[in-house]
Amino acid sequence: MLENQKTGEVIEASTSGYLAQCYELYQSPALGSLVKTRGDDNLDILGVVSNTATLGIEPGRRPIARGKDVVSEEEIYRESPQLYKLLKSEFDVMVIGYSVDGRIYQNLPPKPARIHGFVYLCTQEEVRVFSQCLDFLSLLLNASVEIPVEELVIATLREMARSYGSERRSFLIEAGKELAVLLSKDYVRLKTILRGLKYDAGE
């Protein structure tokens, strides 16, 4: 099995989600990626990346534009390497489940993540195992996140589908059916999500 890639560290945490900072600037995982961090009592808290941001490390001090006399963006960073220390990339993770002793629960964990807990990207195998059950979709649909919920669902399913290879389409159809049930009284939202996934489900 592939080693989990360490991608950041928890800096703020609650039961429903946490904020993590990347070790490298701009190296945040993609929106909708499944990540995990170790919580108390030997449980792994699983979540999806629900937002990412890059900002200055001091609140209230905004970066200023520096590229007037240079040709490329890279040059700016080359000329001012301190920028790598003054800026940080962060990502929000929405918790959608946890696992204890290999058993996966698609509910909120009993305790939140720990500060300074390492955040790992889940392997494709882990993503497939987790998405065997689609109960997490109802948690996602009820999320209060900064981006539109539909976008989060699209991004999550799209990321998950990548781990299915040739079975990508059947995974998306199955997930779509689950959404159709959950959104049976809200066809407009359902349609928004399905349209978003249309090309991912192409043959």
Binding site: L172, I173, G176, K177, A180, S184
Partner: protein
């Protein structure tokens, strides 16, 4: 656990129960993998309840949407991904199932009972397997007759003919839907599987000797050719029978003395008689005696003596001439003779007693007057004799007479509300099996048949009917009537029948077995038990 393992044997899960009631039937939501287009009314399904299995019939198919807004933008369905997701979830099909029987699964005992409850929510539903259908409808044996197969299945559906003949039964259907073929099949079945003998009033000469298949035009063998030892053909019209090269056993001639005023009453409409004229016939019969009255009335001259008699009997002259004109019409029937030595009733009874069925051909007398007159007259006397025999058997505790089934066509003429009380057939239909005589009535206008008679029919077999009133009449008193109505209206015009009543455990749509080809006849003759000749020899004789 046992339920689980049973279920896995029969793949094809259709869906799950979502609502329903015992009286209205069960709604089943189809799984997304099941196409509504594969569903067909009349099919059998099994519902796996938690404690028992339910055997039911599919009676309706519906398309549903979870959110009405889908209908507002139907073009979305053209996207293959969207339609794949939506089918079975936001857009889905439901089927309506009429539960008919519950099947025992626990223990070794296999059997079924009428349904008295409904399966619980989300019980899975599958197509009934051959084994289920076989368990319900039984296998062909010495009392069950294989009549056909259910739709989309090769299982044999069998009628319990020993039960069948114990009550009066009806075969209905529009003209040209295969009533005659079906009747032939049933008559053969009765010859084979039941101890009953048949008396067939064969208006169009179709049952005794070969008939013609209406659409294919080839000749079809009939009873006498298939079972020469068990069937006798009587004819009213010797010439016609000879022309058609029918080997008849007897020519029937009827004497005037056989005709009773009751027979005239029955013919009131066909002979265009007034009510007063019918009453006059009773008076005249009382005056002249029931044996002589017809001859006497036909012999009356238009003279003083006649007029005096009419005054004495208080019969109006116009009434008399109306009656006279009607009776003249009867006189013209070639098989009637002023006096005849032969006693056709005794002859027919003789055959029937020895277990030989009788088919009476009408030859060219295929009009209603002759048919009703003869059928009523003969049946009445045969019925009377049967009653005597049965009563005697009761008194002496000897063997009862053989069960007799009388087949009549155009039954609504005998059994309409107006005359059902006057004809012997009304009596037979109502008093049923007390005297071991029952009816097989064949008709295309069941709505004209008296309700009371219809309600007494044990088993009704119906081909396609599309007149509302006829459908209502046939389905009167059956549970799940509205569901069966949709099944009945969608029968194919040929070879498909709906059977319900006493001889089948539940209503069933059957594709009738083939009748006519050499192979099909061989299979029919094959299964007889007491053919004296080897089968091959019979076949060779039949087909030259």
């Amino acid at each position: 656990m046992m339920q689980e393992s049973n279920r896995s044997e029969f793949a094809q899960k259709l869906g799950v129960v979502i609502s329903g009631s015992l009286t209205r039937g069960i709604e089943v939501k189809l799984d997304s993998s099941t196409s509504v287009e594969d569903m067909a009314v009349g099919r059998y399904v099994i519902i796996y309840g938690q404690k028992r299995r339910f055997f039911g019939m599919l009676t309706d198919v519906t398309l549903e949407v979870a959110d009405e807004r889908i209908n507002a933008t139907p073009s979305d369905a053209s996207d293959p991904f969207l339609s794949a997701v939506l089918s079975g979830t936001a857009t889905y099909g439901t089927i309506h199932v009429l539960p008919m029987l519950t099947i025992n699964v626990a223990g070794d005992e296999q059997g079924y009972q009428p349904v008295k409850t409904v399966p619980s929510h989300f019980s899975p539903v599958t197509v009934a397997s051959q084994r289920d259908v076989e368990m319900v409808f039984g296998k062909e044996d010495d009392k069950r007759f294989y009549i056909g197969t259910p739709l989309d299945m090769e299982t044999k559906i069998c009628l319990d003919l020993q039960e069948f003949v114990k009550r009066s039964n009806g075969i209905f259907g529009k003209s040209g839907t295969g009533k005659t073929f079906l009747t032939r099949l049933l008559l053969i079945g009765m010859l084979q599987k039941s101890a009953a003998v048949n008396l067939v009033f064969d208006m169009h000469n179709e049952y005794g000797w070969e008939g013609r298949s209406e659409d294919k035009g080839y000749k079809v063998k009939a009873l006498k050719q298939l079972f020469p030892e068990k069937v006798a053909v009587f004819t009213l019209d010797e010439e016609s029978s000879r022309r058609r090269k029918v080997s008849t056993d007897a020519v029937v001639k009827l004497g005037y003395d056989e005709i009773q005023p009751d027979d005239i009453a029955l013919l009131r409409q066909t002979l265009n008689l007034t009510e007063a004229a019918v009453q006059a016939s009773y008076q005249l019969a009382r005056h002249f005696g029931s044996k002589r009255w017809l001859e006497a009335v036909l012999g009356m001259e238009n003279d003083e003596a006649t007029r005096e008699l009419l005054v004495k009997l208080n019969i109006h002259e116009a009434t008399f001439s109306n009656l006279r004109r009607g009776l003249e019409q009867i006189r013209r029937l070639g098989f009637l003779e002023p006096s005849t030595q032969q006693n056709p009733v005794d002859r027919i009874l003789g055959y029937l007693k020895s277990g030989v069925s009788v088919v009476l051909e009408f030859g060219r007398y295929a009009d209603l007057t002759a048919y009703m007159l003869v059928a009523n007259m003969l049946s009445r006397r045969i019925y009377n004799q049967y009653r005597e025999m049965t009563e005697k058997a009761l008194g002496e505790e000897s063997a009862q007479p053989r069960q007799l089934v009388i087949t009549i066509e155009e039954a609504h003429k005998f059994l309409n509300t107006e005359v059902a009380n006057q004809t012997i057939f009304g009596t037979i239909a109502r008093e049923m099996r007390k005297y071991n005589v029952t009816l097989l009535i064949i008709d295309q206008r069941p709505s004209s048949i008296d309700e009371e008679v219809m309600s007494q029919l044990g088993t009704r077999i119906t081909c396609l009917l599309d007149n509302e009133r006829d459908v209502d009449a046939v389905l009167a008193g059956v549970s799940g009537k509205s569901e069966l109505r949709s099944v009945l209206a969608r029968l194919e015009p040929k070879q498909q029948v709906l059977i319900f009543g006493h001889a089948v455990p539940m209503p069933v749509v059957v594709r009738t077995r083939e009748y006519g080809s050499e192979e099909s006849l061989r299979s029919l003759v094959d299964s007889t038990q007491d053919v004296t000749k080897p089968v091959d020899e019979v076949i060779r004789e039949l087909w030259g």
